[in-house]
């Protein structure tokens, strides 16, 4: 097998693919909650992705990638048997939910990829775990079967009501707590506005909340500071201090602004790529 070869690729939702990558060194020590940085082509950019599954025996690591920009679009063009240019990890700190007995995992969109290994882990530890998965519509819901197998209760919710209840993950979480559910930890992963909304809700409800910050990065080892964010009034690096933080301490407004630094350039790259792609 080639270094960083794509062994499997499967479409999970519209514009979302799961890739199983051959990377035995990464697979050897990686744990739920950690991430990798990959490069798709020579001189390509370095982009972080959370590890959503792994097999130490097969030496593989799985990631879930939504096509949103140039690099993810390039990645989507690769086929099984192609290899990535670089794939480094595991980076960041693993999740530690050991101290909690009753956890609700909240995954928004692609964020479900991050909460899936947590569900598996909590189940394996014999803990009680509920899962809320939300998406814009039915076609963007993912890992439904896997969550079904690895949770006590699975709650689906879509913005348009095309599957499950209609609304946002916060609506679901609120009604669960109001109906008497007791959780000692909310673990929420998804787009920044979703995590912000969950944290605003759980602050009122008084439930500890952990979020996973998917900041832009270059090296991913603490060298550049690109991924910095404010947590509890102090600057932290998502790559070496995180990626998980106490959601009630995170300055989401700043993180949202920082996520848009290269919006214009990114758009231009994507247009170039689509233009070139069309011509080929």
């Amino acid at each position: 097998m080639k270094k960083y070869e794509i062994l499997k690729k499967r479409a999970l939702a519209s514009n979302v693919n799961e890739y199983v990558i051959y990377a035995p060194l990464v697979a050897k020590h990686c744990l739920a909650g950690q991430f990798v940085i990959l490069i798709v082509e020579p001189d390509g950019e370095r982009v972080p992705f959370t590890i959503c599954d792994y097999s130490r025996e097969d030496g593989t690591v799985s990631i879930l990638v939504q096509e949103v920009g140039y690099t993810t679009a390039k990645l989507a063009m690769l086929k099984v048997g192609d290899a990535l240019e670089d794939f480094v990890g595991p980076l960041g700190n693993p999740t530690d939910l050991k101290e909690f007995d009753s956890v609700v995992l909240v995954g928004g969109g692609i964020g479900s990829a991050v909460v899936y290994p947590q569900a598996k882990q909590l189940k394996a530890d014999g803990k009680k775990v509920d899962v809320i998965v939300g998406a814009r519509n039915e076609s963007l819901l993912m890992y439904v079967d896997e969550f079904e197998r690895n949770s006590d209760n699975l709650y689906l919710i879509t913005d348009d009501g095309s599957n499950g209840r209609k609304g946002f993950v916060t609506d679901m979480l609120k009604s669960l707590v109001e109906s008497g559910k007791k959780y000692d930890c909310v673990f929420a992963v998804g787009p920044l506005p979703m995590m912000k909304a969950v944290c605003n809700l759980t602050r009122e409800l008084g439930v500890k909340t952990i979020v996973s910050m998917n900041s832009m990065m270059v090296d991913g080892t603490g060298m550049c500071g690109c991924c910095r964010l404010t947590v509890g009034g102090r600057t932290k690096y998502a790559c070496i201090d995180g990626p998980e933080f106490d959601g009630h301490e995170v300055d989401f407004d700043e993180a949202i602004l920082r996520s848009k630094i290269y919006k214009a350039q990114e758009q231009e790259h994507l247009c170039n790529l689509r233009g070139n792609y069309g011509k080929n």
């Binding site: 240019e85 480094v88 991913g220 550049c224 500071g225 920082r258």
Partner: protein, 462 residues
């Protein structure tokens, strides 16, 4: 007749070079090199050598250049220093070898040792003589079957790895990034140290039998305990990579970079090239904070990306820690020095983008612990500077990844790894050298430490 004045190296004119990323210093011609070599008096006591952290036999190699025996010169240089193409470009010679040259004060200036080193090293690279060296450095055999893991691939690691490989040790070099070279590829800009030169030096180290494994982060992908299981010794050359920030309001606004991030995007990720995939913001008015070599590199890079650049420094010109050459180059190219100014706050607009910086005027007071006069703020002197990008170049500290993954490894309060002067750490079989041991310093000191550690490793094998 020997011209008594030192021959400066030809360079691209400031007006031209500030618009391109090509190397600024153009190198000696054969004639210039010979003339400069002839200025060397060949002092018996060689005071210059005492100033060289790796003890290069300076008068000997210059004597070979003098008589036109380039192979002879290459042989001596390669034996003493396997990274001379790099040292000839980035060493602070004025505070090392050239500082002690007897010609310095009254005889037309120090012999341009660095320029001659670069000339000989470039000759070797151009003529395939990278591995030409005196017989004593090819003692393969004695250490055959031994193996050493080298962590990092910057100057300390490259010199340690090649000394070990030349002694017959099997070396595996692990690099966290996707390219080897450490600070030589991510930090120092193309116009000071062309990446093609670094690549040749790395290729040469590999040709000695060093295996390079990129994409391996020690403390995450592999652990030192594991490496000790597979190898007879481990050398840590992971540098000082963690950037310091100002800790003032507005530091996380869009458009505020650490010099590390800015330079890494430009150098390693090639963001300066048209069509580069990795993005970088092209500010119109950039403020660089700090006055060391990295600050100069960042300022001159920003100029080349089309910005107007001001450098804000809290002390005066006399205290600037950068090499004089770099300061002069930056000034010639048009970097404006705002001296005795200290940032108080970075100002942003409603979209979270940098729009200015509030600074306070400073004056110099009593000397501090470093011997430099300490800057004191002048009350009520705050004012605003307009800018759309800020690059913070205030130094770096060692990366905690290794320390955190190996509690038995003794470290100092500053995060540096504690070792004896040969690089032996608190853990048997684990050695360290370079910025990881000393905190941020120079390429040549790191190289010297790499060589020392290689020697200690071999001695401990005996």
């Amino acid at each position: 007749m020997v011209k008594t004045e030192r021959h400066e190296m030809p360079a691209q004119a400031a007006e031209i070079r500030k618009h391109n990323f090509n190397e600024v210093a153009l190198g000696y011609t054969a004639e210039l090199a010979k003339e400069e070599a002839e200025r060397c008096l060949g002092c018996k006591n060689s005071p210059c050598m005492a100033g060289c952290p790796v003890g290069v036999r300076i008068p000997d190699f210059i004597a070979r250049v003098k008589v036109g025996d380039m192979e002879g010169a290459v042989k001596i240089l390669n034996t003493d220093n396997n990274l001379s193409a790099i040292c000839g470009r980035v060493c602070p010679q004025e505070s090392q070898c050239e500082k002690y040259c007897v010609r310095k004060l009254n005889l037309g200036g120090s012999v341009a040792i660095g320029n001659l080193e670069r000339y000989v090293a470039d000759y070797a690279l151009a003529n395939g003589l990278e591995n030409l060296c005196e017989s004593e450095c090819n003692k393969a055999g004695k250490y055959e079957g031994r193996s050493v893991a080298v962590i990092g691939s910057g100057p300390a690691s490259l010199s340690c790895a090649s000394d070990l490989a030349r002694a017959g040790v099997k070396v595996v070099m692990y690099e966290a990034l996707h390219k080897a070279g450490g600070v030589l590829v991510y930090g120092i800009p193309e116009f000071r140290l062309p990446k093609s030169i670094v690549q040749k030096v790395v290729d040469n180290v590999k040709s000695l039998g060093v295996d390079l494994e990129t994409d391996v982060v020690c403390g995450k992908t592999v652990f030192i305990d594991e490496l000790l299981f597979e190898h007879d010794a481990v050398f840590i050359g992971t540098g000082a990579g963690l950037p310091s920030f100002l800790r003032i309001k507005g530091e996380n606004l869009n458009g505020v970079y650490s010099a590390n991030e800015y330079l890494t995007r430009v150098n390693l990720m090639k963001a300066y090239k048209d069509g580069a995939i990795t993005p970088i913001l092209h500010g119109k008015k950039v403020v660089v904070v700090g006055a060391g070599n990295v600050a100069m590199d960042a300022a001159r890079t920003a100029l080349r990306l089309g910005a107007e650049v001001n450098l804000v420094y809290r002390r005066s010109r006399a205290e600037m820690p950068a090499r004089e050459d770099e300061i002069v180059h930056a000034e010639e190219e048009g970097v404006v020095f705002d001296l005795l100014r200290n940032p108080v706050e970075i100002l942003g607009d409603e979209n979270g983008r940098v729009k200015g910086m509030r600074v306070i005027k400073m004056e110099l007071g009593e000397p501090d612990a470093s011997g430099r006069r300490s800057p004191v703020p002048i009350e009520g002197s705050e004012f605003e500077i307009e800018c759309d990008e800020v690059i913070v170049a205030l130094g770096t500290t060692p990366n905690p990844l290794i320390k955190n993954s190996m509690p038995s490894l003794e470290t100092s309060k500053r995060g540096t790894i504690v070792a004896d002067e040969c690089g032996r750490t608190s853990v048997k079989g684990v050695y360290v050298g370079g910025d990881a041991m000393t905190g941020a310093a120079t390429v040549i000191l790191a190289m010297g430490a790499g060589k020392k550690a290689a020697k200690a490793i071999l001695e401990d094998f005996d």
